[in-house]
């Protein structure tokens, strides 16, 4: 909004308005109206109004979603068994049970995804920023761009084609994790890359000047400096995949039981729990379970974001 230093005077063909001042607007506006640059002031007000309007417009869906989900789901979170029980032997028109199986399942599946995707993603970014030159680096960078544009259902189908069709294995939680890895890697590579680029070159040079080898410099200086940013990126990636449903529909059928084996059998997750109960939305029991699970999922993502902020805050490098 700092247009003051730019082109002085009504030079850009705008005829100055000669209406005498007074009669409208607040005192501040009036004073500016006296100014030969009042057109600019009007533009400023218009821009402000448009901006606030756009902001309000953008907030509507967010507030709407949150109030709906909270209003319909919050009483489930207070029920005695929600955080401890599962849905075993609870049919779609039965009340009761909990979502512990799905919460644990979601965390486990995303945990496995993180475990695989984070090292690959960070190392790719380190390569791209610290080592990569020429054709290979450009090719990798290009591939990461393509990967980030892949729709989640395509990632799911790809893993289905590899794991189920080619290797003849059954659907499993792990297969879904692999599909999520494909979605998570580009997020982590891109965010880590940006963070590494922000590390001042002087730090690297100072390290080299002390005779420190390059790899030690990368590990102890560059990664250390960018740590908080990297963590933020990782958590963004986690948040990105946590509510992902399409690959789960294809790869990880839901179970209402506690199930911690990622490699065999069906696997409980919150998005699939929502999907299951969505089918019986007309039944009050299923509907409240669905809203409860939706709120739980939102809270889980929120919690991770908060943890990310806290971690980033306490690890910011002091200037």
């Amino acid at each position: 909004m700092s247009t003051v230093t730019e082109s002085r005077g009504p030079a850009d063909g705008v005829t100055p308005d000669t209406t005498p001042p007074g009669g409208k607007g607040g005192r501040d506006v009036l004073r500016e109206m006296d100014n030969p640059h009042r057109v600019r002031a009007v533009k400023d007000v218009v821009a402000k109004v448009v901006m606030w309007f756009a902001f309000a417009l953008a907030m509507i869906p967010l507030v709407w979603i949150l109030t709906t989900v909270v209003a319909k789901g919050v009483h489930m979170l207070g029920s005695a068994t929600w955080w401890t029980g599962n849905q075993r032997n609870i049919n779609s028109d039965d009340f009761g049970g909990g979502a512990r199986h799905a919460i644990e399942g979601t965390l486990e599946m995303v945990g496995m995804t993180t475990l695989i995707a984070v090292p690959i993603g960070i190392m790719t970014a380190v390569y791209l920023v610290e080592y990569g030159r020429g054709g290979l680096a450009r090719a990798i960078s290009f591939m990461v761009d393509i990967l980030s544009g892949i729709p989640s259902i395509v990632a799911g189908l790809f893993i289905y084609a590899v794991v189920v069709t080619t290797f003849g294995l059954r659907q499993s939680g792990f297969a879904a994790s692999l599909a999520l890895v494909l979605l998570m890697i580009p997020v982590i590579v891109r965010s880590t890359e940006e963070m590494l680029k922000l590390v001042p070159n002087e730090l690297r040079e100072a390290s080299y000047a002390l005779g420190v080898p390059k790899w030690v410099t990368v590990v102890k200086v560059v990664l250390r400096t960018a740590f908080s940013g990297i963590i933020t990126g990782v958590l963004l990636g986690v948040a990105r995949v946590m509510g992902e449903t399409a690959p789960l529909l294809i790869l990880a059928p839901y179970t209402k039981n506690f199930q911690r084996d990622l490699f065999n059998g069906n696997f409980p997750t919150l998005p699939m729990m929502i999907n299951q109960d969505r089918g019986d939305l007309a039944l009050p029991a299923a509907a409240e379970r669905m809203w409860g699970a939706a709120l739980t999922l939102i809270l889980l993502v929120l919690l991770l974001n908060v943890i990310g902020r806290v971690v980033a805050h306490f690890n910011a490098v002091k200037k």
Binding site: N91, T114, L262, G279
Partner: protein, 375 residues
């Protein structure tokens, strides 16, 4: 520096906790209800309990029934886990052929004629390495459920139903409907037909009924995909929910869903007077069905054009499609144990409250024999 080092450690611990919680909890078998990992051991109650899990997928028409059966079995057998995905008969059979599930639920028996270049029964046989059997397990009456303000009782016959679902009759006060409903005030609300957009055995059985009982009025092919008019909704719950929310709506849906959603159901005039949909009237139709499978393959052919007094003609028999001999003997034992419980008189009787009709006695006896022969 030391402070920031400590907080770095804390950070790593925090971020790692997410990943590690998974590994940690795997060793923690003492969680209540963690059934899938426990060692064998049969609990009191039902005869055969297995430990471990069983995967099934298919017809949403039998979801409420199999959910009940699973609940009954799992209650008796704490170490057993059975998952049923109600994704539709077509999807269930495909998953069974792709060896993704241990048995499939389907509203129609495996096709013995080629469809899209695949003969289902042959493909299933190949996947099993043995004959695949169709075992009728539940009778699911199909209701013609409607939602018209002020109309609590409605009589339809096959011809009028066919014309409604073909979009030829478009308002509720059409003379053809009025002729069957003397004394009922019908509004001029437009008729809104909802059909199943997914591949469904319910659609197949309903269109079979229309074709058999009103050949003149229903000219389409019968099949899992809807060929008539209307608006598509996903799964049984989808059409039931849509009808409930639309004045003037009508759909075909399993009795259990119509009951759950408290939708009124049309009586069917087969020529022997209007018949209300009850477990008993539906059972009468199934009892007259003819077995088309051989030996323990119990595929049935229903006479939809039945004119027997008191028989409700739109029924579907939902099958469990199983391998006669499983490549993995352990899986065979599990399937056998569960289906034995499913076919038992107690479980079957309990299904009545959920909107299903128990199998007629002679069919039930054959099913029990077949289940015993699974290995």
């Amino acid at each position: 520096m030391s402070v920031s080092r400590i907080s770095a450690l804390a950070a790593i611990a925090l971020s790692g906790a997410l990943a590690l919680s998974a590994c940690a909890s795997e060793n923690n078998g003492a969680q209540p209800g963690a059934g899938s990992t426990g060692a064998g051991g049969t609990s009191a109650g039902a005869g055969d309990c297995f430990s471990g899990d069983l995967k099934a997928e298919g017809s949403s028409a039998q979801k409420n029934a199999i959910d009940e059966a699973i609940k009954a079995y799992q209650t008796a057998c704490a170490d057993a886990t059975i998952d049923y995905q109600p994704t539709g008969s077509g999807a269930g059979i495909k998953q069974f052929i792709a060896k993704q599930v241990d048995f499939a639920g389907s509203d129609s028996s495996l096709k013995t004629k080629p469809k899209d270049g695949v003969i289902e029964s042959d493909a299933a046989k190949q996947a099993c390495g043995s004959e695949a059997w169709n075992l009728p397990m539940v009778t699911g009456p199909i209701a013609i459920a409607y939602n018209v303000k002020g109309v609590d009782k409605l009589v339809l016959n096959a011809e009028v139903a066919a014309k409604i679902f073909d979009g030829k009759i478009t308002t509720w006060n059409d003379p053809a409907i009025a002729a069957l409903n003397k004394g009922v005030t019908l509004p001029s609300t437009p008729i809104k037909v909802f059909f199943r957009s997914d591949e469904s055995g319910t659609t197949e059985n309903f269109t079979k009924y229309l074709k058999a009982a009103a050949p003149g009025a229903w000219s389409y092919e019968t099949g899992k995909k809807w060929t008539g008019k209307g608006e598509g909704k996903e799964k049984s719950a989808g059409v039931a929910t849509a009808t409930k929310g639309q004045d003037g709506g009508i759909t075909y849906v399993e009795l259990s869903y119509a009951q759950q959603n408290q939708l009124p159901m049309a009586q069917i005039d087969t020529g022997a007077g209007p018949v209300e949909l009850t477990a008993e009237s539906a059972g009468k139709t199934v009892a007259t069905a003819e077995q088309t499978g051989t030996g323990n393959d119990l595929a049935l052919k229903i006479d939809y054009a039945t004119k027997e007094a008191g028989a409700y003609p739109i029924v579907l028999v939902t099958y469990e499609i199983v391998c006669s001999k499983y490549a993995d003997a352990e899986t065979g034992k599990k399937v056998k144990a569960f289906l034995k419980s499913f076919a038992s008189d107690e479980t079957q009787k309990g299904l009545e409250a959920k909107g299903y009709a128990p199998l007629p006695a002679e069919v039930a006896a054959k099913v029990k024999t077949a289940v015993d022969a699974i290995s």
